[in-house]
Assembly symmetry: C2
Homo-oligomer: 651 residues x 2
């Protein structure tokens, strides 16, 4: 049962799409104080687990840290970070009392989950204008399913999006892209998507393609498609200020950009230099911006990723002017009154500055709303702009879409990737932990940059990470410019990569089925073990294994130089290893703890007792999967409900 | 057997103090190329383990990363970092072939240990002037013992240094310090040392004490001693440029500071503002600087920590002038030719700039040596300055000394702490992994900032970290200014901290015995499991447990919200838990893997089969330990060789 508690005058985020009755009473759990803004407090029992927060660092159990939902362009993902790109204010307390909480509030909100005091949960925000949903249920899993129902069905991508994709910031010319495809196809490493980061554009202008590098873009898209490669261009939030550029001109003319208090268009520098932000909270502007995707769709593009939509700001006109003023003062400071640390630190503060988020406004149904009051809704509505437009531009066919920034509600329009991680072993584990937590908040089509975006990867890290990525709906290898080349064919013994990625394709019938069932039933694709084994104390504590769908448990290796790992089986299971020689090793292991050996070039998973999993032969693209080779592994005489469709029609 | 291979004209680092015969032949392992500087290459077998590198990030097995020995002031300790504060160029390859390597080279040297290619080890440096020691031995442990013998006996601190110490950057007045002591003593949390970070000084001037804050410093030191508290002041590398300040005046007058090429004293800003660096590679200057510690020793001080001795540089005169020039250009750049990223990034590059390390010289036996050619020897020789002086100033009594920067050889004069870590769970595990590796290189008195220096700790992280810190010779809680208060009495349920730290004191007879045996026998205090169980495949792979001395294995919990952890026992052992009620839980566990429960307020360890460990009753300071309460836990009828001395006389 869900009750809605309204405080003040909430902004309508449209996160919740089902009617929920308004409660007259105070929430049944904890206490609310309106003395200073809004604060919800609850005393946790020692063994209570706190689930939720979607895209956030640290554990599946969020206890023991302070988190702030405040969409941020933050490339480091360090253990002490409070904010990431998304704002997913959904929590479950699971223990002595079990209940869910959704704080529908459009800007910064703080979750002190046993940080200040180990047993105290406090959720607080500056203004007491929000809807608090309190969810009662049988257990944590049931609460998730109820919550997922009121926020609407999760986004469903085309089936090709379950293939493997390669990306790198720095691919610029058609030849750059062709060479990557060549590297994969010649080495027979399966692949379906090739991502186009910012350099495909003309001067980083949204919805343009550099004509010098792509003299006939449509032909290039077709040529790639002929090889079963879908090009997936990036779209950034900021629209370049440039006379004659249609998107800019139309936006200015129709007041579709975010404005300063004085009514002028707010300018902030991002990749293209000075830009305006499309006012995606303004319905008309949203329709207009979404319509722009047609430029690329009409050339054969069927997938996009939305980036820089927190929105990220390198600096604003105002910020830069103030900095230049400071520099003048500094240069006149002949007797060293200004500490050098200030000089050193200051230029960093120009980027993504809270001051700048107070400098522009959205037109929401005719009312000017200052950005910082609704900050967490920008990425959501940019992606919604696209999603709503796709239904018109491409009424029959699904379009691939995922975003960096998000809010709950955006899960209906696209997936997310987990942003600019690093080539760190700890981020492989973080990737795993974030998956079920995102599922709780509706984000099913999701994954991390495999191999790591920033920093330099190593062959073993990439192999181990791919062996997790095989199971994430979005499976993409992505890396930053100036880092080590990270395409799979760049490393020695390329057959290991061929094998590991090949297993993804062998499992697509299963992964796609489980994804579709999760999406169509408001269910989870990845679950913490505790959701399937809520009475098993050990299962409740496991943070490095996941349940996948109804048949599989995964337990990837995430430490360097390890020949295997400990794994806990809440019940008897079949330990499956896809061996480099193409064979499938199956061993029945009893309930309990085991140390299992998994080599760098093996892919492992566990099949639950009495269940089976469909596998097919390896194919080099989703399109080439031969369903005639389908067979089942796991327990004999088990039944499996295979989901099949054409993989592209809207559902 | 050790052979020495000399290339070119090595700088005499004095790391090795025993005579080692010069080999005529090439090294028996790998190959050396002198084509471009120096490069040693070796092809590793798949299962080879590479040990070594002392203070370095990542695993006990160093395979799979690129490391650079290049002493750096680096506060982040991220997974992809190449360099830390120390330079410890000792490696062991343990596998198909087993041998040790020590590259005695005084500046930057790169270790590609399976980074570029998984099976390739390459050690390279710019100039082919070095001594390469190649060590053959029965196994990795034997190789360590041989190496330790040629580099001389490890530093031995006074026994009080095995107590618990509290530190925080920000303690300024006598009252600040007294309040901390009060917090500990009133809560009956044992404590022996109180560290004084930079704010005790007068304007950050070495060997001064702020007279306003400490009107009678000697009386204050005595007052603390009366409570069994040893004050341990910090000494920084840079000497403030200030007319009338004796250290500055003497240094200038006698040419004891590092000089520019033109003979003027090199100036670099650090905490005190502009400073000169004492030329610790100049024997006379080293004697003079070491003698300065007497100023504080004569007031009752009996311990120090040397900091900022990479040496860290905020900016140099030259660097700042160049930056100001750039700012002028930037301000004149009306048409935005200079990318903002350059503006944003540049001020960071002023600190610890390689350019600055080329701007000053050492006087080595009358020869001017540019600093960048001997960069890794600065911290070593600063600490050597102190250590050599202590023998004269305090010929009978040991003085506590540890340093941030180091080179092998410095281990004879002091310990090290592992620098500015963070309040991250991953750094708890990093702490554990670094310990045996440092022991291999001679650094026995060592430990990390418990609870984490940067970022905000939590109660549970601090408790878990203390439960590891109990076993590290240096046990210190230290935190940075502007982070959350981290003294143990700041948290709820202070009795848990009292109990956990109390266990340190119960174990001091054992820990001190094992430390002294390790120091006197050129042995290790902490060992990887593989050193005691070299034939055990599983033991060889364990990276989160350590052998301590000859009786104990430790396996601390290093993940949040965990009730316990997996542990591997290479043989039957007694699982010991020191319970909050004062009792000692003992359970015999068979060889193999176990999941053991360890609560936040319990301290656990394992006693090896047939061994026993001495324990005493809790005391609030080392001085108050009652040896009359000594008894043994572990296996019955076991014998233990207890080491005892007065804890202060030089040995």
């Amino acid at each position: 049962m869900i009750t809605k508690h309204t405080y003040g005058n909430p902004f309508n985020t449209e996160a919740v799409v089902e009617a929920v009755p308004n409660a007259e009473d105070a929430p049944a759990y904890g206490s609310v104080s309106l003395e200073k803004g809004f604060a919800f407090s609850y005393t946790m029992a020692a063994q209570d687990i706190v689930y939720g927060l979607g895209e956030a660092i640290r554990g599946i159990n969020k206890r023991g840290h302070l988190y702030v939902s405040n969409c941020s362009d933050t490339p480091d993902h360090l253990e002490d970070m409070a904010s990431m790109y998304g704002a997913h204010n959904f929590l479950i307390i699971d223990g002595e009392e079990t209940f869910g909480l959704f704080f529908d509030y459009p800007t910064a909100i703080t979750f002190d989950i046993g940080y200040t005091l180990q047993d105290k949960l406090t959720v607080s925000c500056e203004e007491a204008d929000l809807d608090l949903y309190v969810i009662d249920g049988e257990n944590a899993y049931d609460i998730v399913k109820q919550f997922r129902k009121i926020i609407g069905r999760s986004y469903i991508p085309p089936k090709f999006a379950f293939g493997f994709g390669q990306s790198r910031w720095g691919y610029t010319t058609a030849d750059d892209f062709k060479n990557v495809v060549k590297g994969y196809r010649e080495n027979h490493i399966p692949m379906d998507m090739l991502y186009m980061d910012i350099d495909y554009m003309e001067s980083y202008k949204d919805f343009t393609v550099n004509e010098k590098n792509f003299p006939d873009f449509k032909a290039f898209v077709d040529e790639m498609k002929a090889q079963d490669i879908h090009l997936v261009p990036i779209i950034d939030a900021g629209v370049k200020i440039e006379e004659g550029y249609d998107v800019y001109e139309e936006g200015v003319e129709n007041n579709y950009f975010c404005k300063r208090e004085d009514g002028s268009d707010f300018a902030a520098a991002v990749w293209p230099g000075r830009t305006h932000f499309p006012d995606v909270l303004n319905k008309e502007a949203r329709e207009w911006f979404g319509g722009k995707y047609e430029t690329l769709i009409s050339q054969g593009i069927d997938g996009f990723w939305n980036d820089m939509n927190e929105p990220a700001i390198f600096y604003s006109d105002e910020g830069l002017a103030k900095y230049k003023e400071f520099l003048q003062t500094y240069q006149n400071d002949k007797d060293d009154q200004i500490p050098f640390f200030a000089v050193q630190y200051l230029p960093k503060t120009l980027s993504n500055s809270p001051e700048d988020y107070k400098r522009f406004y959205h037109n929401v149904d005719g009312k000017m709303v200052r950005h910082d009051k609704v900050h967490n809704l920008f990425g959501y509505n940019m992606t919604r702009a696209a999603g709503e437009a796709f239904e018109k531009i491409s009424p029959d066919k699904r379009i691939l879409m995922f975003s960096r920034s998000s809010y709950i509600g955006m899960h209906r329009y696209g997936g997310i990737w987990t942003g600019d991680n690093k080539s760190w072993w700890s981020h492989l584990l973080l990737n795993l932990k974030m998956m079920p937590t995102l599922n709780m908040c509706g984000f099913l089509y999701t994954g991390a940059d495999l191999g790591g975006f920033g920093a330099n990867t190593t062959r073993d890290l990439l192999l181990r990470w791919l062996a997790l990525g095989i199971f994430t709906p979005l499976m993409r290898n992505h890396s930053a410019i100036r880092t080590r080349d990270q395409e799979c064919y760049r490393f020695e013994n390329v057959e290991d990569f061929r094998h590991v990625i090949g297993i993804r394709y062998r499992l697509i019938p299963y992964l796609y089925s489980e994804y579709m069932k999760a999406a169509l039933n408001d269910d989870m694709y990845f679950k913490p073990l505790a959701f399937d084994y809520p009475k098993d104390e050990m299962a409740r504590e496991i943070e490095d294994q996941l349940m996948l769908g109804n048949e599989v448990m995964i337990a990837p290796v995430y430490t360097q130089n390890a020949s295997g790992r400990y794994v806990y089986l809440p019940e008897e299971m079949k330990f499956v290893k896809f061996m480099p020689d193409g064979s499938i090793y199956e061993e029945t292991l009893p309930q309990g703890s085991h140390f299992v050996k998994i080599a760098l070039n093996e892919v492992s998973m566990f099949i639950r007792k009495g269940k089976c999993v469909p596998v097919v032969d390896v194919a080099e693209s989703v399109n080439k999967i031969d369903m005639g080779t389908l067979r089942y592994i796991g327990y004999e005489n088990a039944e499996y409900d295979l989901y099949e469709d054409d993989g592209i029609s809207r559902i």
